[in-house]
Symmetry: C2
Subunit: 330 residues, 2 copies
């Protein structure tokens, strides 16, 4: 209902619309309209109310509110069910709980801030209030667990596409789960799954996108290695617009993968990769070695050419050797 | 403490031991000894108490009580922490909850009956009270998620070994998760995991072992396809002894896999397999086909020779073509 009211107010872009007219169009009482307006104001919408002229939407809050996401994202399943928080420990943790309790595919958890945002292998992820996009999506793919690592690559491609279209910034993907700009972290992706040996119960794709931080917003130790879209473009970026674009790209690529497999995703990943063609250091569970990253294979594993042959890297950490990585501003 | 009291009573195998002596050896008060004896009686231990002669252990209940398991299983980690139930929905569900709450590696969930015992792909598993072994173990292996399917094979080998040593019955393993005797189901294994893309959070190995059912205990639809150890051997089997043997074999194989990899497990699996050398029907997510099961590969995948080449089967169902499978009684 609130989505419908916002939709009507937006259609009149800044003009007044009478409570009577709204009530008529939505077939509810004028009291109901008034109540919803109060709630919208509480959420941060600047709505002018005039006794004769009616209501006017003056400003939408810079928050990732469910009603805004639902109205802006033309998706079929991703982000139809939204759990919104101003603060949360970690959106992935919340999404996991929801998934175990039976949450539908596409359920979105989004928070303005994370108190203990997580990256891979329990590392932290700096997630300050309203300066980034911190979200997790629940998927229930018909893939086997062996296909799960490719979902990280798929998410990376979706985010890279969305950043390209919304901000005209071309970034690079570092295998398997970071998106970089000039070697600095812009986006982290954390994919987690619950599975039987031959069927996935659910996959949680979590992402942290650094949007509107200035360099001074980052803790000192992160300043040399992290960046944000506002830093890159020199202007604030609409988090809502970017989030919406991410959801739409993600849904498109995911549906394609479910229907036709991952070939398109892997090809596009190769195009955006800043890992392929580089000398990489691999820190595995038990050993460490170096080699040339030559390709990814059909499982999404990194193929590294070493003195003793091609190594297939699935687990473990990859460091790129210090060298200027190729990224460009379009 | 109760384990220690039971240990003392057992050492005197049926003879009386004075409360004073027990109190002295365990450095507790006689009142404490008396209280523990009451608790043991409540759990079903038949303990004779005589005012002058003391206490005597006459009979141990046919239950899989934690004190019994701990005292009988010479394991270092598996089954040190035990969660015991008379009834539960599913031991795997309980183990999952415990694992998410931080349960240590080796934590064991055991129940006398399961109300909704689960097999693969949400199929049911008939788990009547005190007639089988229904348990789940929490593992936290340093493997990558790609190694997880081999944990099912490892559990199958451990159980096959334990059944061989306790009951002198040689059974066959049907890829990936059933143990059969003359083509009928004796054991099911359900392995579930929670993982990031390159690290396992935890693996739950659940197993249902049909021990003391007679054919008439099974629902009519299961009678032609299920069997129990009591049916095979013609006599009741000690569930405690078998459970203990399973835990010990499982720990031994698991430690070996953590230290040296899965080669030994895969070789032993091949030996027990009733799938290799058979024509199998594969029901995958999207397609169905037949072929000759020729081997398992280093990932634990089944290799099936078809008209169009060797297929690697990881997900999906395998049916053996109707044909007498080779199993024998030693």
């Amino acid at each position: 209902m609130r989505s419908s009211i916002l939709h009507l107010l937006r259609q009149h872009s800044g003009d007044y619309l009478s409570g009577e007219e709204i009530a008529r169009q939505l077939a509810v009482s004028r009291t109901a309209v008034w109540k919803h307006m109060q709630e919208l104001k509480q959420e941060g919408y600047a709505i002018d109310a005039h006794s004769r002229r009616g209501y006017r939407l003056r400003q939408v809050p810079d928050l990732l509110l469910p009603a805004e996401i639902r109205s802006a994202a033309r998706t079929r399943r991703l982000g139809r069910e939204i759990h919104y928080f101003t603060h949360i420990d970690s959106t992935n943790n919340e999404a996991k709980k929801l998934a175990f309790a039976g949450a539908a595919e596409g359920t979105l958890v989004v928070s303005e801030a994370q108190n203990s945002g997580r990256g891979r292998l329990s590392r932290g992820w700096f997630s300050p209030e309203q300066l980034g996009i911190w979200l997790s999506v629940v998927l229930r793919p018909p893939f086997s667990p062996q296909d799960a690592p490719k979902c990280t690559l798929l998410a990376a491609v979706a985010i890279t596409r969305a950043i390209g279209s919304v901000c005209q910034v071309t970034c690079g993907i570092k295998w398997p789960n970071d998106i970089l700009y000039e070697g600095r972290k812009l986006v982290g992706i954390l994919t987690e799954m619950s599975a039987e040996m031959d069927a996935i119960n659910h996959i949680i794709i979590g992402m942290g996108i650094n949007v509107n931080m200035r360099s001074s917003d980052f803790p000192p130790d992160l300043r040399p290695i992290a960046t944000s879209l506002a830093e890159i473009t020199g202007q604030p970026v609409s988090r809502l617009k970017l989030l919406t674009a991410v959801l739409m790209e993600l849904e498109e690529l995911y549906q394609a993968a479910v229907t036709c497999g991952f070939t398109e995703v892997l090809n596009e990943w190769r195009k955006y990769s800043v890992t392929l063609g580089q000398t990489v250091d691999i820190t595995g569970i038990n050993r460490q070695y170096s080699g040339l990253a030559v390709d990814i294979d059909e499982d999404g594993a990194l193929l590294v050419e070493t003195a003793t042959g091609i190594q297939k890297v699935l687990a473990g950490d990859v460091s790129l050797r210090p060298k200027k990585t190729e990224t460009k501003r379009e």
